[in-house]
């Protein structure tokens, strides 16, 4: 950690769900993260914004166990989960809809959804949850038997989110859910995210579309070349001249 993080606005106090301290990630000789510090409270939506290559995806990957950090500490619900493998974090309430959507194109839409509930055995509840996803995204019901690879980009993103929700996570990590989507589809997806958050789910949201992310987030972090340079509540960040200049194109 070099310079101090500039903090704007108040943060509503909440019990912590996820904490990340001094997180470093290397890809071979390349250092992608240089000591990221952030946290997500219970029921909170936290946005992580930053330019391309800032380290947003690497942060999510380290949190969900897709890659091993080279230094730092990550806790989930008070327990140290640093370096734990991804498949062991799912039963602890972690869901990660990764960059590029990560659907399985060689499986049907239904099979993709079934994999979202892979670790669950409460058949009746799963069916009810799936029914809910079909209500949120009716197109998935129509396409149930189709190979997921035949869906449009927007439909794939809906599938990725519906699948992540089917594990009934406490914490949902989303990597650029709006990327490449038509405004209407983005609208649908963000409406859904607001709904699941209202029902208590915490969300760590990575977006290049800073306006979209910050207007829905309770709190936000700005990442620059592997470090958090600014933090603050969503509204304060949206109004800050630096953020407006660098990320909102003003």
């Amino acid at each position: 950690m070099s310079e101090a993080v500039k903090t704007l606005g108040e943060r509503e106090p909440r019990p912590p769900l996820l904490t990340v301290e001094g997180l470093k990630v290397h890809y071979g000789a390349i250092q992608a993260l240089k000591g990221v510090v952030l946290s997500v409270g219970k029921g909170e939506v936290v946005a992580l914004i930053g330019a391309n290559g800032a380290g947003k995806t690497s942060t999510l990957r380290a949190v969900s166990g897709m890659l091993k950090p080279s230094a730092g500490r990550i806790t989930l619900a008070g327990q140290d989960i640093t370096g734990m493998k991804a498949h062991l974090l799912v039963p602890r309430g972690m869901a990660h809809a990764p960059e590029g959507r990560g659907i399985f194109p060689n499986l049907t839409v239904q099979e993709n959804l079934d994999l979202g509930a892979y670790l669950r055995s409460d058949t009746a509840e799963i069916a009810a949850d799936q029914e809910k996803s079909f209500k949120l995204f009716p197109v998935l019901r129509e396409r149930r038997k189709q190979l997921a690879g035949t869906l449009s980009g927007g439909e794939q993103q809906m599938l990725a989110i519906a699948r992540a929700l089917l594990s009934r996570p406490q914490l949902l990590l989303l990597d650029e859910p709006s990327l490449g989507l038509a405004p209407q589809v983005t609208e649908t997806i963000f409406r859904t995210l607001r709904e699941v958050n209202a029902a208590g789910m915490s969300i760590l949201l990575v977006e290049q579309n800073a306006h979209l992310a910050l207007s829905m987030a309770h709190y936000g972090y700005v990442l620059e070349t592997g470090e958090v340079v600014m933090a603050g509540n969503g509204k304060a960040l949206l109004e800050s001249p630096e953020v407006r200049k660098a990320y909102l194109g003003e």
């Binding site: 166990g65 990764p98 399985f104 060689n106 099979e111 979202g116």
Partner: protein, 306 residues
């Protein structure tokens, strides 16, 4: 006509054995995108395990139904364990390394097994081929005319076992929770882990199934050939690999069709041309298929993931 029918039967019988070995290649390729060149040699080790079991059982017991079942169980179980160990200690540490690294390791293991088994120390059998005991007494299952066409019991058995296993595998891959996990791991094991799938375990189990199948196939081959030798794995493995590629590697029914096709073609070449042409024709077909349909008969050429 009778001759044609006989060749057809012999070719199918040979093809079913290739098919069982090809299924292992194709399964492992399916989940790992790795051509497990040691697969044929694992099969060879399985045959020796069966050989040792038959020897331990003695001349009388080895021919009983229970004896044969025991021989198959020991060989298949032992090979599953061997496959597990190879995956765990040779391939898993290389999972995140370039694919070429694992491929070269596979070739290394193949040589270590096929040449290691030619040593004459300890339990190793030495280079000379040995006669494989007749644990299944060959009997004529069907005779047409004045012995114009003869179908042997082991031919029927191989065919039934191969078809049964293929149907079973197809069911496992497409109808079960484990199969769904396998297909997810096959596409992207990092994302599969995000679903809570224990990817290492899925890969290990796949290896074990493939290796067990190979041992079963190897025993059928040894029974037909009445011999076992340290180099049999290289030869049969290569043929099965060709079969899997012809069918479209990674594709379960494709492997079986490719293997049956190969078995038939080889039989007809030997029957109507000359046995020296057999391997040339087999590889010629491989090249032809790859030229016309690079993904194999059933495979699709998938865009390489980045």
């Amino acid at each position: 006509m009778a001759q044609l029918l006989q060749h057809l039967i012999n070719g199918l019988a040979a093809g079913t054995i290739y098919a069982l070995v090809a299924l292992g290649y194709t399964m492992v390729y399916g989940v790992l995108k790795l051509i497990n060149f040691a697969h044929g040699d694992v099969m060879m080790v399985g045959v020796y395990m069966g050989y040792a079991t038959a020897f331990a059982l003695g001349r009388q017991t080895q021919k009983t139904f229970l004896g044969v079942v025991l021989i198959f169980l020991v060989a298949m179980g032992g090979c599953a364990l061997l496959g597990f160990l190879i995956e765990r200690f040779a391939y898993r540490p290389l999972r995140e390394k370039p694919r070429l690294t694992a491929l070269i390791t596979a070739i290394g293991i193949s040589f270590a097994l096929s040449y290691g088994f030619q040593l004459d120390i300890g339990f190793l059998p030495g280079a000379a081929p040995r006669a494989f005991p007749e644990i299944i007494q060959p009997t004529e299952w069907l005779v047409i005319g004045d012995r114009d066409v003869v179908v042997w019991n082991w031919q029927v058995m191989s065919l039934l076992i191969a078809v049964g296993l293929m149907v079973g595998l197809q069911w496992l891959v497409f109808k079960t929770r484990f199969g769904r996990a396998m297909r997810a791991v096959s596409y992207d094991h990092r994302v599969a882990a995000l679903m809570g799938i224990p990817t290492d375990r899925v890969i290990a189990v796949t290896f074990m199934i493939g290796s067990g199948l190979a041992a079963g196939a190897g025993l059928l081959y040894a029974i037909k050939d009445t011999s076992v030798s340290p180099l049999m794995g290289l030869y049969v493995g290569l043929k099965a690999f060709v079969a899997a590629v012809i069918g479209g590697i990674g594709h379960v029914p494709g492997a079986v069709v490719g293997a049956l096709l190969l078995g038939l073609v080889e039989e007809f070449v030997v029957g109507y041309a000359a046995s020296t042409w057999r391997d040339a024709v087999a590889f010629g077909i491989l090249i032809l298929v790859l030229l016309v349909k690079p993904g194999g008969l059933f495979g699709r050429v998938a865009a390489e993931k980045v």
